[in-house]
Amino acid sequence: MAGRLISANHAAALAATLAGRANRTARGFCSGVYPITPSTECMELLCNQEFEKGEVVRVESEHSAMAVCIGAAASGARTFTTSSSNGLALMAENVVSAALLRLPVVMVAANRALGPPWNLWADHGDTLLLRDSGWVQFYCADNQEVLDTVLCAYRLAEDHRVLLPVLVCQEGFVLSHTTTRTEVPSQEEVDRFLPPLELPARLRDTPRALGGVDVPGVAEAHRAQHHEAMARVFEVYREVQDAFERELGRRPADPVVPYRAEDADLLVVSMGTIAVTAQRAVDEARARGERLGAVRVRTFRPSPAEQLAAIFRGKRRIAVIDRDLSLGFGGVLWGEVRGLAEPGAVVQGYVIGVGGGDVRPEHVAAVAADLAARTAAGRPVLMETGA
């Protein structure tokens, strides 16, 4: 283990490299990559790595990048790709297909707003567009978490009780281009943590069609199996956390991370780096004597509904901050969690930081002040940071 000053893009690329090399005794590693701001540096670093048994294919589109991963994963290799924004949108049909084929692909997204009109900056709308694609989704809070989550993603995705692709999200520029001290494990440590991939139904020589026509009844059965695999994610993830802690000496974060929430009168729920900002706002509010608490949703799919409902028990006022806007509805996270609070609780949605608006502790404090003054939830509040 060595501490290095790296960006989240490089943390993701190093994790993918270590995971790819760890599969050298099995079917190896194969990745399809295509550049797009702000995820580009991740694929660049990957393209500079040496693999004893691995390939990085420089394809002509994100659509093909995921297609390469599909072919390679069907053949039993460990796979990886990275993208952002419109790249994810172009890739979308293959993203769905990778999930429905139950291939354990791992992808890192540097979150960025969709366009045109072009916008290069952080927004969760791109990966939330893939909410229903059948992938597990993690949202990270810092560079260390990006590296650790990518490693965990492989062990989780490849577990035979799960066999699902995993999307690891980190906000563009806020994390992707920000350099922080990050512990990078050695190959030996990763080899101990990540067993070689054994895909139970990989394509060999037996004639069978992967992705043949699913008639209605069969499609229902396959969706049910997929949904049940999602339901097993939290149980398997706990084992992944244990194994990670055992081999690498630190425990990856839980699917839901409460912060001073137990005795809080007001709760602020959010994802990604905004949740870290919220924690600082909580400390400042506590210093003023206000009982503010925060909740970070790290695992968005599968939905951590039970964990959130437990935290929401007895809470009367909950603010949900979204760095995305489902136009004509409101924040996506707000829509997901507002039904989990107790009846009569005020669950108010706030949309802030879309298209890269810089969210600072004072914005979270303004959210808390607005929430404290409410007796009933209203329409989602769209706040501008003026950044």
Binding site: V59, S61, I70, A72, S75, P207, G212, V215
Partner: protein
């Protein structure tokens, strides 16, 4: 075995299972069925993985968990066959599997929506054999025009006949300087099987093109498919050629440029009736195409020289 034998050589018995199994749901007289059977005869002992994008051939596979293909197959999204094949092929090579990865795609998935991934895989010289069975129509969606549809052909979205000429895909692939690019005819099985074997045994990117009659879309007699292709070859409408490394072009079946064959080809398909396209109107384009082919073959100098 129930498959008719059209050519001497390895019989169906030498293969563990036929490439196209009996009981598949292809239309009667489907040219893709004929092309697959020819292809299967050439495969023999070789280990194969098939990649099939959205197309009639995707339906050929049949409903889960059955398959009408005698080899492992991945069904992919419409435009992604060459890229999925890239992943399979790279991993097969990393592991020394000795598996030949073959894309089996229609003209929609090749000429149109799959063009970018096809071009990129050719440019990267992936170790993939890409076969386009070209029925000149979006058959699986009920018969719409593609850029492979010839001028004058009626389709459901060009009812008066397509005004534009067919895209010259083989020339596009040759321009990529791929290792081997060839067109084969289901009416000329010896030539076809030789080409399939050559393509299967070469490394790097290879491309095969097969004109594939679609009785449903062409509004032609199902039993006449092979004869229609023979007429297309005779008249010069469908050149049967091979191109090595994008340079050396060889004409494998010499047409007699019979006007009668061309007239017969048009009259046996109702898709050409409404536009009233005639052999006379097609003749100049055929002559122009063949001047280019002669020039590329270098065997017979073109009659006209540029000033």
């Amino acid at each position: 075995m129930s498959e008719p034998s059209t050519v001497a050589g390895p019989s169906a018995e030498t293969r563990p299972t036929p490439l196209l199994r009996p009981g598949n749901s292809n239309c009667g007289g489907c040219g893709m069925s004929s092309a697959l059977q020819l292809f299967g005869r050439a495969v023999e002992h070789r280990r194969l993985q098939l990649v099939v994008p959205a197309s009639c051939a995707a339906v050929t596979a049949g409903p889960f968990p059955t398959t009408s293909f005698g080899v492992p197959t991945v069904l992919t999204t419409f435009g992604a066959a060459a890229a999925v094949a890239t992943g399979l092929s790279r991993v097969a090579r990393l592991n020394g599997d000795g598996t030949r990865v073959v894309c089996w795609a229609g003209d929609g998935g090749t000429y149109d929506i799959g063009m970018a991934s096809l071009s990129a895989a050719a440019e990267r010289d992936e170790d993939v054999l890409y076969v386009c069975y070209d029925n000149e129509i979006y058959g699986n969606t009920g018969g719409q025009r593609s850029s492979a549809t010839p001028a004058g052909a009626s389709t459901t979205n060009t009812p008066a006949g397509k005004p534009e000429e067919k895209k010259d895909l083989l020339a596009i692939m040759a321009a990529h300087r791929v290792r081997y690019a060839a067109s084969f005819s289901i009416a000329h099985p010896q030539d076809a099987i030789r080409k399939v074997r050559r393509a299967l045994d070469a490394t790097g990117f290879r491309f095969l093109h097969a004109l594939s009659p679609c009785p449903t879309g062409w509004k032609s007699e199902p039993a006449l498919g092979i004869e229609l292709v023979r007429l297309a070859v005779r008249s010069g409408l469908y050149p049967v050629v091979e191109i090595v490394e994008g340079r050396k072009l060889v004409v494998n079946v010499e047409p007699d440029f019979s006007r009668e064959a061309l007239e017969l080809y048009l009259s046996l398909q109702q898709r050409f009736q409404r536009s009233g396209i005639t052999a006379e109107r097609l003749a100049p384009a055929i002559a122009r195409r063949w001047r280019e082919l002669r020039a590329a073959s270098g065997r017979i100098l073109p009659a006209e020289r540029e000033a």
